[in-house]
Amino acid sequence: MIAAARDFGIDLTLTASQLRLSPQERIDNLQSGMKFLAELEHARKIGPIKKQKV
């Protein structure tokens, strides 16, 4: 299963680092990740910044 996950493209080093955290720290990381994804979604909706002609 571990090899299958690696082959699937899962970065197991991230999983291993999560395992060393407390449940509260894992939840805090999740909440931070949610905020980051929300920021990305906001940026996507605004669209790319157009370069100004000089």
């Binding site: 996950a5 899962i10 509260q24």
Partner: protein, 162 residues
Amino acid sequence: MIDLEKAITSLAANNVDYIIVGGVAISLHSSGYITQDLDLCYSRSKENIHRLVTALSPFDPMPRNWPEGLPFIFDESTLRNGTNFTFDTSIGAIDLLGEVKGIGDYTDALTNCVEFTVYGTRIKAFNLEALIDSKTAAGRPKDHLVLPELLALWEALDPNEE
């Protein structure tokens, strides 16, 4: 994006019987998967539905994609007349599941959960086996994407493995 602290604190303050069953449970088990909502399997007893309504009412739940302008009342009658609900609230998306595919209802889920402490309160969440079974049963592409990591965690943490 769900505000987990507000949701979990309010549920605890009102002694709601629930089990975290979705992406948040997956994260509690150390996956790097990031969800945007909170999925709860809740007890459908009359008393618990009353407590659940009390806990979530301050956040103005509305069914997801509910037509604008159409009135909706989030109360005990509404929850008794259905089983599974997807709500948008002022603190983010919360799904209430009376039954979970591949597992069953709250009573079945109780035998498939573990406890964690977060925000100073004890919470119940699906164990890895239940997450694997429910994601397998749900069968959607997004469910299948998390299965390889869940299976790897299950193998790595299996106490019966050498």
